[in-house]
Every structure is written in C-alpha cells, then in structure tokens.
Symmetry: C2
Subunit: 309 residues, 2 copies
C-alpha cells in the first residue's frame, strides 16, 4: 500500500507478539503506506526486536522524513510513556524503550500501550471525536480496553487501567491463561467465539461468514459471545456511566450478529435501564490499523505541542 | 454537639431516605454542630422535605451565617449539580433543587450525590489528600461508590458513575431489590453481612461485636463479606488501576475482620498481582459525617471560587 505523500507525516508502529506493523500517517489519520514484519515474539532479543522496528520504519519512510514516531506496544507501559514495564509476548522487560529508540532514530518518539493507542485512534480520527466519556472494548484473542473520562484517556496509577478482560464474571468459571478463572475474556472474545462454535468452525472470520450464510450454530455462537459482551459492558456502565461504548477487534466485524445480542444483554443487566440513557454500542472505526493510527496521532500531539492525556 | 464558632463556616446537609443530618463545618472539615431530623422518606411531599431541610439549616445556624450550603442527596444528581433526577427514597423527581433552595435560603448552594460527597470528604479532609487515583466503596444497606481519576471526581456522562453495587458478580445469583440478580451488594454490604450470619445476629454492629468477642459464625460472616468485597474490588482495580481503595460505611468499622479477607481476595483475583503494585485497602476517615463534611467542602469550593471537579 502506497499513496503520494505531501504535507507533514508521522509513523505509527504497532508492536505485537507476532507482527510489527508500521504505517506512514498524515495529520488527518490517513494511512499512506504500511510495512509488516515478523516481530519474533518473546524469544527474540531486545536488539533483534529493535532492529525489526528500525527496518519497518525505514520501509515506510523511503524518501520521506516523518516528524515523529509513535509506538503501540502490546504490553504494560509506565505512566510517563518512557518504559515498557512488562510485555508477555515481547522481549522487553522494564526497558527504557522511548529514549533508546528516539536516540537511535534521531526523532521524537511517543510510547503507549496498544489498546490505549486504539482508543486514541477513535478519539482523534474515529467514532469518539467530540465524545468526553467512553469505554473501548476490543475483542480479539482476549479483551483489550481503553477508558476516556472527562475527555482524558485514563491510564491508572500504574499504567494498567483498562484490563477489562480479567474482570471476573463467573465465580469458579472457565480457567484463564492469566492464572485466574471466570475472566470476562473467556466468555467474550475471538477465542470464546471459537469455543462457542464447538470446534466445528475454526476461526472467527469463518464463524462470521457461516453466520451470515444462515448457519444456526454460528449465529448462536456469536449471540452467546454478544450476550456475555453485554453482561460485562453493563458492569462497566454501572461503574463509569460512559456516553458511548465502542466495540473493536476482529469479532466486531460480525456487526449486529454480535452487537444486537450485546445491546439486549446490556439493557437486561443494567441498573435502572428504563430510567437512564443507556449508552450506544458502536463498532470501532479503525480495525487492523487502530494501533498504527493511534500511535501516529500520539506522535503528532507530541511534536505539535499538544500533550497527550 | 456544639463547639464555639470563629472563622468562616459552611453547612453540609446529608439528605437520606430516613434522616436529614445537617452539620456546621469549618474550613478544615471540622464539624462544629449537628442537627438530625426525620426526612419523611419517599411519601413526604417535596414541600415537606424542603421545610425539613430549612429547619435543619436553622438549627445548626443559630447565631451564625454560613457562606454556603452543600446538599448530599441520596439519589441521582445531574451532571451540572442542579437537579435531582431520581431518588428512590426521596420525593424529588427531576426537581430543580439547587436553584430553588438557594433562592429560598439566600445562600449559595451546592448539590451532589451522597456517595460522591463522601468521596469529596476523603479528598478534602481525609485519607485521599494528595491522592490522584482512587476508588471509594461504602458498605451500608447496599454499596455506594465514588471514583477519583487523575485528581478529578468522576460523575459519568449522565451523573450515574460509581454504581458499583449493581455490577453483576454472580450469573443468576441472589435476587436484588433493583430487579437484577447477582449484584455485588447482595454479597458485600451490611445486608449481606446479616444474611451471612444466618439470622442469628440481627445487625451489623452486633455481628462485629460478636466477632470481636470470638464468635466463630460472626467471624466467618465478616470473612465471607470481606472475600466478596475483595472479588469486586479486584474487578474495579483491573478496570481502573487506582493507587488506593477506600472502604467506608458501617461494615468498615469491623476493620481487619473484613479488610484482611478482602485484601487476600483482592490479591487472589487480580491480574498479575505479583507483577504490579496492588492498591492498599484503607478504611475511610469519615464515618456518619462523611456526607455532611463532603457537602460542606463542595459549598466551600463553590464560594471560594475553586470549582468542583
């Protein structure tokens, strides 16, 4: 993917456990070019991962100098946006990532958690423009989350806010790889969708396609995931009272097959649903580029003097 | 209760379903005088309730002119702090309470939800001085809640943030008077404590006293409530990552009999508890005067030009 570049540009790099996705992004959030490389996962060395990021940056910047780079890291980023404290799928361990890469590249660098970047993408260039209070729930392998309160992105005292996926919804429920049980993401995620399809359809996209073709098991699997999505969203709405709930990630591409049962469950499980404004459930504008667009938006805010948060 | 008054004072009035508690409060949060009257509950008329508030105000203001009055209302207050939208235990229905009483009394009036006032009391004159990110959970008949994020009290898009008590912790669990089932406050509250004591000890204070005297059932009942408190707090910490969790309300007077099992359950149910700072569970500084002190603090902020929030 490559489009002509004129005007200032920034780079967003989504650093995940399996892939590194870099994108050249303009001030309106348009992705002009992308490059995708294998990240090497947790077994790569820090040096190898950072070389991969450098390669990806070079690929999207051919003939162009960006104003800054944003990194969307699949891990826990400290409150200052300086260090990756912990990342189960990456080699970084309490690593001074921002300063190191900024020095290496000679460019301003912004560092943020990938789910928080996805929230920024919606705030700056998506369905949350002009919204002050919102929750983002992304349904992928697990659940990612982001919180916008009073117009500010919430990171929490230790940078770990938004870990909605590990809220316990079922006492002594399904075991979770995190070591707990009954976690929300065991019931509402791409993984949960595959479980609900009883192994007959192996992937989320296959289940969604089958449901669109009228397959009853596939429809029921999406409804089951949607219902659990609604139960967990009701809990978040009770706690936070957002104006909008954005649903992103692969499962959201099923649209109303998952959102209609979710909206019904939200009404059924929300306190005083008839006496209040129940927030809208909205599909995220950004899909696979959410991290790239959000990270680039943070880099833009950094270089244009509008501090993030 | 009456102490000499010198220096500026404000009045806080806690408007609950059974009682109206007014207090004359100085700039340091000290309660100098109080007056308690029956509120009349939901069957009183608006006019009768507002006369009761006026009587309570007159009682604490004898010989003194306050700078302003704060109202802590047991109900849903709109985001602007103007109206009581809905209050199950009071006669107000979408009532323009703030302007009406300000006009009647010829004084500046601040209006806020009672649980939010309790949070303000801890922020201004309690255990949350200097803390930016905190959650307040009050265990009384039900669960009240308050949220402090980035140094700001969170009210939500419709003023209903902090309704933690109706987050569903148990699918198809205990029925709740709110119409839902499995709500957190069915498992962790003064009411839940009486259920856990199997009717043998009728009140929370009696259960706490019995537990202090070594009664095994009473100890187990407090531990059960504490464990459920910890499970729900773990969910809030996963979502919000606060630095401190404050526990208030009648049940918190049991101290470690309820907080030690809660802290243990919080660790057991929190994602990556060994890889993060687990927030402290702290007993609220303010007990029965929390609403009064917080409402008076809001009135003080209003009249001293430091806008709340």
């Amino acid at each position: 993917m490559s489009e002509p570049v004129d005007g200032p540009v920034w780079v967003g790099i989504d650093v995940g456990g399996t892939k590194v996705l870099a994108g050249l992004v303009d001030a309106t959030g348009r992705v002009l070019r992308t490059a995708r490389l294998e990240s090497g996962g947790p077994r790569a060395t820090e040096a190898a991962l950072e070389q991969t990021l450098t390669d990806a940056l070079d690929l999207v910047c051919e003939g162009v100098t960006p104003h800054g780079v944003g990194l969307a890291a699949a891990g826990l980023v400290d409150g200052a946006g300086e260090r990756v404290a912990f990342a189960p799928h990456l080699p970084w361990r309490d690593a001074d990532v921002r300063a190191r890469l900024s020095s290496r590249w000679g460019l301003p660098v912004a560092l943020e958690n990938d789910a928080t970047c996805a929230l920024w993408a919606e705030v700056e260039h998506g369905v949350l423009a002009g919204v002050s209070d919102a929750v983002l729930v992304t349904l992928g392998t697990g659940i990612g989350g982001g919180l916008l309160i009073g117009g500010r992105v919430v990171r929490g005292a230790g940078g770990m806010a938004g870990e909605f996926g590990h809220m316990q919804l079922v006492p002594d429920g399904r075991p979770c790889p995190c070591g707990l049980s009954g976690c929300w993401e065991r019931y509402a995620s791409g993984t949960a969708l595959e479980v609900a399809a009883e192994g007959r359809l192996a992937t989320g996209p296959a289940i969604t396609a089958a449901a669109r073709a009228g397959d009853e098991l596939a429809v029921a699997a999406l409804a089951d995931v949607g219902r659990w999505l609604g139960v967990g969203v009701a809990n978040l709405v009770s706690a936070l009272d957002p104006a909008v709930v954005v649903v992103g990630g692969g499962v959201s591409s099923a649209g109303d097959l998952v959102l209609a049962p979710a909206a019904a469950a939200l009404r059924t499980h929300l306190l005083a649903a008839r006496h209040r404004r129940v927030p809208d459930l909205v599909v995220a504008h950004h899909a696979e580029h959410a991290g790239v667009v959000g990270a680039a938006a943070l880099a833009r805010r950094l270089t244009q003097g509008s501090p993030a948060g």
